[in-house]
Symmetry: C2
Subunit: 413 residues, 2 copies
């Protein structure tokens, strides 16, 4: 006999399943496929030699400390570097306001652990980042969705929703995953004032903010909120928890992210992280610090911007050339994704499989909604393919879309 494991599982596991994206990605990993499905950075841009030098320096100068247990809060020089780096974007935080996490996914998990009781409602964008839904689901979150348009989350309908008392708002202001849209400055102001008025905090997820290919940097919500907390010089209060990551700026294989919050919130998060994994790898933190220091991070981000900008432009041009008139798409000012909208009647799942037969892949938009899944959308990643692949992939995808639209019309006829 054996344990009847499925009868031992906690209730929360019933709301957990493997990410649809992860399952789809398995189908898209044949080498002949041009994949716009994943959210992967361009591996050919990883600063491999810089990391090799950093590993050497860390181990030669500080090997014993790098391989030993470390503090849960994170490696102080890395937290200081992040504090200095964020200052450039207006975020004034002290080391004590920064917690290092295993990627921003762990930040989302800790936020769920800290804030969500079973049945609590989380206000999310529609569409929103799938990984956040995965992280929050396990704590029994319910959702209320507010649609995004080309200027980000629609704040005009927020007042009413906030009166229903969501536990917090989860917002991606810059080049949102999946839609690629950016929250306008006017809406940012309004959002922060609403959070303050209702006492309902904002979780600001900003993995791509620095990957901007045109226009000026949008003011982080945490900065607008801090400006409103004028008398709080020590950053003891506020309405915003901010999270970002080195995954898109240096390399995702490090699994390094960070959170910024009032000190009392960080203290609580540290306790939760202690129970979750004691701390993030000391060695990885020291290597990342060594690789990023002396201006390298900025220099590298500039390089990424130039390469990704070209890829975005190539994709936009190819969409114009190869996609039918019925399709529309967002024009992201940065980040890794754009979002294609097809006529409502289009069978998105059939399109996914038709595209696969043409050796091209995307993620169907339905994966990114907490509630209702309106229409047929495609999330397309442009960071992980080279320009010539992008053009060829969009050509093939255009064929599949046209074919699918003909089928839909016939089915409708």
């Amino acid at each position: 006999m054996s344990t009847a494991w499925s009868h031992r599982y906690a209730q929360r596991t019933q709301s957990v399943r493997s990410s649809v994206i992860r399952e789809l990605l398995k189908l898209t990993q044949r080498p002949e496929i041009i994949s716009f499905a994943g959210g992967l950075p361009a591996p050919e841009l990883f600063p491999v030699e810089r990391f090799e030098q950093a590993c050497h320096t860390v181990l030669a100068q500080n090997g014993a400390a790098a391989l030993q247990y470390g503090p849960t809060e994170g490696y102080v020089p890395l937290r200081e570097l992040i504090a200095r780096h964020m200052r450039r974007y207006g975020i004034i935080a002290d080391v004590g306001n920064i917690l290092i996490t295993c990627g921003s996914q762990q930040a989302l998990d800790l936020i769920g652990k800290l804030l969500i009781d079973t049945g609590d409602c989380v206000l999310v964008e529609a569409p929103t980042y799938l990984g956040a839904l995965q992280a929050f689901n396990v704590y029994g979150a319910k959702y209320v969705s507010v649609p995004v348009d080309h200027d980000g989350i629609r704040v005009d309908s927020l007042d009413e929703v906030l009166r229903t008392g969501p536990k917090f708002m989860y917002v991606l202001p810059n080049f949102q995953n999946p839609a690629g849209v950016t929250l306008s400055e006017e809406r940012r102001q309004r959002l922060v004032l609403l959070a303050n008025a209702y006492g309902i905090p904002i979780v600001e997820d900003d993995p791509y903010g620095q990957l901007r290919y045109e226009g000026g940097h949008g003011t982080p919500l945490v900065v607008l909120d801090r400006n409103n907390q004028r008398t709080d010089e020590q950053y003891l209060s506020g309405n915003v928890m901010y999270t970002s990551t080195l995954s898109k700026l240096l390399a995702p294989g490090l699994r390094l992210g960070w959170m910024v919050a009032p000190q009392e919130v960080i203290t609580r998060l540290v306790q939760l992280k202690q129970g979750a994994d004691l701390h993030t790898s000391t060695f990885i933190q020291m290597v990342a610090y060594e690789a990023a220091r002396d201006g390298f991070l900025d220099q590298h981000v500039r390089k990424l911007r130039a390469v990704y900008r070209e890829r975005r432009d190539t994709m936009l041009a190819a969409l114009q050339e190869f996609f039918p008139q019925e399709a529309t798409w967002t024009r992201p000012e940065g980040g890794l994704f754009l979002w294609v909208t097809l006529p409502e009647a289009t069978d998105c799942e059939a399109l996914f499989h038709a595209a696969l037969r043409q050796n091209v892949a995307f993620v169907p938009g339905s994966a990114f909604y907490a509630d209702e899944q309106p229409g047929c959308h495609l999330r397309l990643n442009f960071s992980n393919s080279k320009p010539e692949q992008i053009r060829e992939g969009i050509r093939r995808l255009g064929e599949a879309v046209k074919e699918q639209l003909r089928t839909s019309v016939m089915a409708g006829a």
Copy 2:
């Protein structure tokens, strides 16, 4: 105004506080203190040069893959290496039965997430590993404690407790943290049969099993259980989830642990880990694999055993020499800790502070109990101090103990 954060926190945070040990450790970090408080490996034994070579190899040969996102389950060659390594201890597991985690602390967190509903009872040893209590508390665990003696958990009282229906049993069979005791072979057999009879699974936590300084390796519970599941060659069922770590065998700063379980359980754990942090650092996994391969892990463990054995022997001899007759202690066959018992009336907290004044530190035993905290115990770590420090530290501690016993007698008089 600002969010009233403490009113936003989830209920579960009320059972979470910072580890007493972590707070105490802050007091013990003055350089003049000889600390037996932490559970740290000897940093001078970290194979720094081997890691440097491994980093070089990984980045030179496979840099792009090492820095990219990877599968949640873990890096296949590392899982294969672990499977081969465990075979030496009788654990026959396939790659599909192994999940890589961020240290075994994350394994405990995932186990809590998978199995514990609020109010569920977990059977633990008294005393037990504090980090497990921290991990389980957050999921609302209650506890039923079963005492350990010199042969490990007392199975004679288990029958009755299992009838109360705990969700699972959490057991450290080898050189238990904190008590340093090892579960006898006879009790292992009995424990596994009881788990099977009641359908109540065992979580076998084995961070130190390979650090044995005398006697033969105890048969892992997972092996005994697998032997009972004779027809299940594919490891699809069973009553034991096994977890271990590279923290004590290579270096804790890597944050690499692993779990072994039936395939269906691993599948569920993978889903939970996806939401928790996507995956463990690809780079760290590849470096650990590269460092451990070609027999290095075994060779290094042999070296650790020799050094730690000497330190254990030094501590035992010093206890004999410097501690008063009223004190007793365990004689661990391996691991990192031993456990001193003083007369019940001794004020352990006062002793802790008296010891600090003598520049020597330990962890008071009360930290390691889920329920009642009987008597006065000291957890002493012997891996992190050199023999001459151990002797001097135990001498000082002996003075503090004698002084404290005099005070207790006077207080009682």
